[in-house]
């Protein structure tokens, strides 16, 4: 990009005031030393005039601080770029029309929350009839056969089921993760697809609170969807991708 630099800073109530709020705990008792330590940490973070507006003991050996201050950092907007799915986002009805116009058979979506993750809230939000936040799930889409396999599904079982159901699209959700187990698990699924020579048989999409599109691409997936993405986002991407791949096209 050759755009002119555009520098910005956080905004409190005046242009470029740099005002930020932050809160954290320290593993020491609440005390004047604690307050001073909290201030110093804020200073090291590039926050000028840190003001500890609240200090509170959490136990005999932990304390909590709320701090306001001005950050010295600024960002040149013209230097930024983000990887995003670059397909057209369609509404449910538009996706349904697109399917009817483009494909000769219903599209099969198989989804699961995989590995040790028992939380199905993410995959349910995308797949179940009800959907989430007023956005219906894929089960309700005309032209889509949606199979939600639920939680704690092994990668091997997911692939087996996807083959059995002749899936066009595989959706994987990862909700609760710790120490990056979701990365390991997601990597393993791609390796499995490749080992079985199946990578090109499916559009494979991942989702979850800690997933984004660049991570998905990095791991070898077709797309990744983070928070605030709904069934229509996922469906829009999937049907565009299937059209591009020439899957089940009308002649």
């Amino acid at each position: 990009m050759s755009a002119r630099p555009t520098w910005i800073k956080p905004y409190g109530d005046t242009e470029n005031d740099g005002k930020v709020q932050l809160s954290f705990s320290l593993p020491i008792p609440a005390s004047p030393i604690g307050e001073e330590a909290a201030k110093k940490i804020a200073l090291q973070m590039g926050i000028h005039d840190p003001s500890v507006v609240h200090m509170e003991p959490l136990s005999e050996s932990f304390s909590y601080y709320i701090i306001y201050g001005r950050t010295e950092h600024q960002i040149d907007l013209s230097s930024l770029s983000v990887t995003q799915t670059d397909h057209l986002v369609m509404s449910k009805e538009e996706v349904e029309q697109f399917i009817e116009k483009t494909f000769c058979e219903p599209l099969v979506f198989v989804g699961a929350s995989t590995g040790t993750d028992a939380h199905t809230v993410g995959i349910d939000a995308i797949m179940n009839m009800k959907g989430y936040n007023g956005n219906y799930g894929l089960e309700r889409y005309k032209g889509i056969l949606a199979y939600n396999l639920g939680g704690q599904v092994n990668n091997e079982d997911l692939l087996e089921k996807a083959i059995e159901l002749k899936a066009d699209v595989i959706l994987i959700s990862q909700t609760v993760t710790q120490k990056d187990i979701h990365i390991e698990n997601l990597t393993q699924f791609i390796e499995l697809l490749e080992a079985e020579n199946r990578r090109n048989d499916f559009v494979v999409i991942i989702g979850g609170p800690r997933i984004n599109h660049s991570l998905a691409k990095e791991l070898g997936y077709d797309a990744g969807f983070g928070p605030k993405k709904y069934a229509f986002d996922v469906a829009s991407f999937a049907v565009s991708q299937l059209k591009e791949k020439g899957v089940k096209l009308k002649r």
């Binding site: 954290f24 959490l58 136990s59 040790t116 809230v121 349910d124 936040n133 120490k179």
Partner: protein, 524 residues
């Protein structure tokens, strides 16, 4: 409990009758079967603990051996009674020898009904004495605590490391928590063994082990002295090791156990036969040990819509109540679950939440109801989240819930930071004070939204229970009546651990516990 909603007593009674039929219908099935987990529990209650050279729990080693070499259907007590009689060794020593392949239980498989059961009893009695002691310690400590009228504040710790969990628990207790739940590693419910020793790993929590139970209990007990109030400890007697963990909790003085008759079937895809048999023994143990169970109806609403499916929660509470009664559980131990999960974008959502909470309170007046906070509609906007939790707290205090699981403003972001929990406790304590007698002061309009909503939900629950009774619980689960998730009678995990009892099968410790619960004479 005063009656503010004017619920129809006939309808409530009819719900109880239907639920009783649903549970009784399965009781003969339960009585005719046992599971590998039930048998392992018998071994634990004989005092068998520890692991073999490969880190496999000894109780698993014994059951693996039996499954491979002999007729399981006679039950482990048959074999152990013969073994103790002939070898004159303790069950623990026998188990060690089995694990190292120097003892073969299959030699007793064709023996007739064991006449030496009484030789196992001293070992069982030793364990029961431990449990009895824990009961009386709890009773004593609780009686030294001022009884409050407002709900007990319940928070979770979930660091994935028992030693970090302890730090977080101590902070929470200092901040006013009455109940600490240690979350397990995600996936433990599907392990067909209980890990051993103190653990410092896991995802979304660390393992439920007997040593972790002991460590956390010990830490909380030190605070009880300082704080002059009892702090209750919770874990999960659920999954494939339901009765084993109930037994471990009884020995280490846990005060509550998550324990649902249907949850594992629906949400963990554990086979329904396995779960129903396991929950029976686990509840008898908790009943004996005076441990409050927490049921998991709140989970239905994370999958289904909380407004449209509110009646499934009530129907399930009635069913859980009856299964608990069949396990001789007192109502005072039945922590039936429900949740504040209606979409905050809905008009009057608070009124409908209050209706549901008040309704549960009036229908189950003796039960220590467990009320769960918003989770599904928490967004990452922590500031709004704190307000959602505050409204939930108001509903909890106003409708006099018993076990008040505090919401975290960082729900949907991460397992709670120490400070998240402290903020939640501060807000809940404020509401607890500010709304202390609010529930006593208000009445509801007899033709208003709240009363009407409660009546509707009760009526719908009644119709659902009738249908479930007609088609049977197995069929209902197949139809996906709860949480819109369908499970098949012979599907799911753990079915291979279910077996039909031989006519000579005995579970002497279960029989003894039932006898003592009935007589209620084991308080020594």
């Amino acid at each position: 409990m005063e009656n503010k909603l004017n619920l129809n007593k006939e309808t409530i009674q009819s719900c109880r009758r239907e639920a009783k039929k649903i549970a009784d219908d399965l009781q003969s099935f339960i009585n005719q079967h046992s599971t590998i987990a039930v048998e392992r529990t018998i071994l634990r209650l004989l005092g068998i603990d520890g692991v073999d050279d490969f880190g496999r729990p000894l109780v698993n080693a014994v059951m693996d051996h039996l499954r491979e070499k002999a007729d399981l259907s006679k039950g482990i007590a048959h074999y152990m009674a013969y073994a103790v009689h002939e070898s004159d060794e303790s069950p623990q020593d026998i188990a060690r020898r089995i694990a190292s392949n120097t003892y073969d239980l299959s030699i007793y498989q064709n023996h007739s009904l064991c006449p030496y059961m009484d030789q196992l009893m001293p070992f069982f009695e030793q364990t029961l004495a431990k449990i009895d002691r824990m009961r009386s310690i709890r009773k004593e400590k609780l009686s030294a605590t001022t009884k409050k009228e407002t709900p007990d504040k319940y928070v979770i710790v979930a660091t994935g490391n028992i030693y970090e969990d302890i730090k977080q628990a101590l902070s929470a207790a200092k901040k006013g928590a009455d109940i600490i739940a240690v979350i397990r590693s995600t996936g433990q419910s599907l392990l067909d063994y209980v890990p051993f020793g103190a653990t410092t790993e896991g995802f979304g929590g660390t393992y439920a082990t007997q040593e972790n139970f002991r460590l956390m209990r010990e830490a909380l007990d030190t605070l009880i002295e300082e704080e002059h109030r009892y702090i209750k400890l919770v874990n999960y007697a659920s999954g494939l090791c339901m009765p084993e963990i109930a037994a471990m909790g009884a020995i280490e003085r846990l005060d509550m156990m998550l324990n649902d008759s249907l949850y594992g079937i629906i949400f963990r895809d554990i086979n329904m036969k396995r779960t129903l048999i396991d929950q029976y023994f686990s509840r008898i143990i908790s009943s004996y040990a005076n441990i409050i169970i927490n049921t998991g109806e709140d989970n239905y609403l994370t999958t289904s819509d909380a407004f449209d499916h509110a009646h499934t929660v009530l129907a399930s509470q009635f069913i859980n109540e009856q299964f608990a009664k069949n396990a001789w559980m007192k109502e005072e131990l039945m922590g039936l679950g429900h949740a504040y999960e209606i979409d905050p974008n809905m008009e009057n959502s608070f009124l409908y939440e209050l209706a549901q909470a008040q309704m549960a309170r009036e229908i189950f007046p003796q039960a220590p109801l467990k009320y769960m906070p918003p989770t599904k509609h928490m967004t990452g906007d922590i500031f709004k989240g704190l307000v959602q939790d505050a409204l939930f707290n108001i509903a909890a205090v106003t409708s006099k819930q018993s076990i008040h699981l505090l919401g975290m403003m960082t729900e949907a972001i991460h397992t709670p930071f120490m400070s998240d929990r402290a903020m939640a406790l501060n807000v809940a304590s404020y509401v607890e004070k500010a709304f202390k007698n609010f529930g006593d002061e208000i009445e509801f309009k007899s033709d208003g939204l709240i009363v009407k909503r409660a009546h509707d939900v009760l009526d719908q629950a009644q119709s659902l229970l009738k249908e479930i009774r007609k088609e049977g619980l197995f069929k209902s689960l197949e139809k996906g009546r709860f949480a819109e998730i369908s499970r098949h009678e012979n599907g799911g995990k753990g079915l291979d651990g279910v077996f039909v009892k031989h006519q000579d099968y005995l579970n002497p410790i279960m029989d003894l516990m039932i006898k003592r619960i009935k007589e209620d004479n084991h308080e020594r």
